[in-house]
Symmetry: C2
Subunit: 339 residues, 2 copies
């Protein structure tokens, strides 16, 4: 590897002169600059990244933690992440968890070594199931910005990117009807931003269109501070739906667990369709794959949010933004439509 030192030696100047020359410092004469640049060019000199990050405390690399790279949805998101990261001059280091919480913990450890400037993560199913986000929480205590997408939780305060798609829910209802399902329940979580509002609207419209009626009771809205498990159990016992659409993946997973505990046969007597990715739909019958139109966009947005955050931190704006953003854009909604 060709270094500043070698260039300096060959030119009989000091290392700092070379460094400054390559960075177009006004301190250096044009003549020297040219001399240096020519030699650098000749040897195809590239500054060592490790040295740079050690010095600058920036790696210009972002870390991505996803459950599965073969999942179409995640690979689309990843593709979007790559594009945007590239545009912003960041490298991408990807780790897959295979839905394992242990691996996820590991991954965050690996990325906590000054390897990356920021992290984009979709949590593993195991993490969601165990409802234990301590490792993520711990990570957020450090200085490294983190953005969650798709598999998110209220328990963690950070930027989030989720989808909220009217059409998808609408079509989901249509498909379930076509499959003979008659009593479809819809579960959504309420938060300050009315996330899931568009989805609920999609559900309502579909109910009218395909069942000629809309039963308010078939929508379960769970408030932030309520116990999801309890609410969902009550909901299932009371309404006995033969299909459940969950506006987020967490409630989907919970629904499945509860139904199993209640000895309801899945998928024979209850289809559960999660509005997340393939993981959930694997449990439903027949297998329904929610089609995401917005994978790339989610990736793009995640990077943008992360870059913003990293820049704020870098330029010392953290104080201002930390409180600011946590309240204002904890969740970014994509693809919502209010038709």
């Amino acid at each position: 590897m060709i270094t500043l030192k070698k260039l300096a030696e060959e030119l009989n100047v000091s290392i700092s002169t070379v460094s400054k020359a390559l960075n177009d410092s006004t301190e250096i004469s044009t003549e020297t600059i040219n001399k240096v640049k020519n030699l650098a060019e000749k040897y195809n000199y590239r500054p060592n990244k490790a040295a740079l990050s050690l010095k600058s405390n920036r790696t210009l690399t972002i870390g991505v933690v996803i459950p599965d790279i073969l999942n179409r949805f995640y690979s689309k998101v990843l593709s979007g992440i790559h594009d945007s990261a590239d545009k912003n001059g960041y490298d991408v280091i990807t780790i897959t968890t295979n839905e394992s919480m242990l691996k996820e913990i590991d991954s965050l450890q690996i990325l906590s070594r000054g390897t990356v400037d920021g992290v984009i993560i979709a949590m593993s199913e195991e993490t969601l199931n165990k409802n234990d986000y301590s490792h993520i929480k711990e990570f957020t205590m450090k200085q490294t910005p983190i953005v969650m997408f798709d598999r998110v939780t209220d328990k963690i305060n950070c930027d989030k990117v989720i989808i909220d798609d009217f059409d998808a829910i609408y079509n989901e209802v249509k498909s379930l009807k076509a499959l003979g399902r008659k009593k479809i329940g819809f579960i959504t979580t309420i938060n300050d931003l009315n996330v899931g509002k568009f989805r609920a609207n999609g559900f309502r419209k579909a109910s009218f269109d395909f069942f000629n009626k809309f039963d308010k009771n078939l929508i379960l809205r769970i408030s932030k501070n309520h116990d999801k498990h309890q609410e969902i159990e009550k909901f299932i016992k009371k309404n006995k739906p033969d299909a459940i659409i969950s506006a987020d993946i967490i409630c989907g997973v919970i629904s499945i667990n509860i139904a199993r505990n209640l000895n309801i046969k899945i998928p024979e007597n209850l289809s559960v369709v999660g509005f997340g990715d393939k993981t959930i739909s694997e449990y439903s019958f027949p297998k329904l794959t929610t089609i995401y139109q917005h994978g790339k966009e989610i990736g793009n947005r995640s990077v943008e949010l992360l870059v913003d955050r990293m820049n704020s931190k870098w330029y010392g704006l953290n104080k201002n933004l930390n409180t600011y953003t946590t309240d204002i854009i904890p969740t970014l909604t994509i693809g919502g439509s209010s038709k």
Copy 2:
């Protein structure tokens, strides 16, 4: 970020003591070791990766350069790469070229900054088309080991992983026959390792099975030092096949170019099926997607070869291995079967 320095200050010992303690040096007393380790544990200390690589000249990261992450084949390979890299303690940094040679050149530049210990690459279509591998060649001049897979070329001396699958060719012939093709040509390149031998066998057997005959003339074997363009042009003019199966992607691309120059309508009058990935099959009609069974395995093998190479380099075995391997395993064949 918690550093050795901070630990040292808090414990009132020197930095080097802390370093040694954490590395279980026999120089340090058990008592001190425990003290240090406890504090490190408490603060969840992780050694800074940049510092480590600067010092050790190893990054424990491998770079992957692929045309497209959304291509099923490449994502499978990538998945295999991830698994193996993880097992070997390497991080993975991925860059996609979108089939652009410029982007590929860029990618190699990025990875030439001491960012990675080794590179796994499948070249872009543009690179293959232009038949210009100077950037790869240049890269191999540096110290960083490189492994090519799928999209390979004889022009570069390095470890390679390609597929050589009897069944796939066999089925390809079957499909083409089913589509009404009557005169199927097979193009393969010959090298010392008889790569493509299994494929040729697959073709021969399929010819007998599906056409009840095997016309030797319909196999074109191109020797290393022959001009592919010329040979293929001659072959097409002489045999006028209505379908061509190319054992490697390069000949596939070349065939298409030549056919176009000859005003042969693709895909109406000539199907070209490349034995590589989707890129080629997009030009064939109807679109044939070669199904790869071995994506993950290719990824695994690539990493293994690379790790071997990196270790040899690291442990100073290069001299020995450099000559050795260039001759013996320039190409690794996977999935070959001689049924």
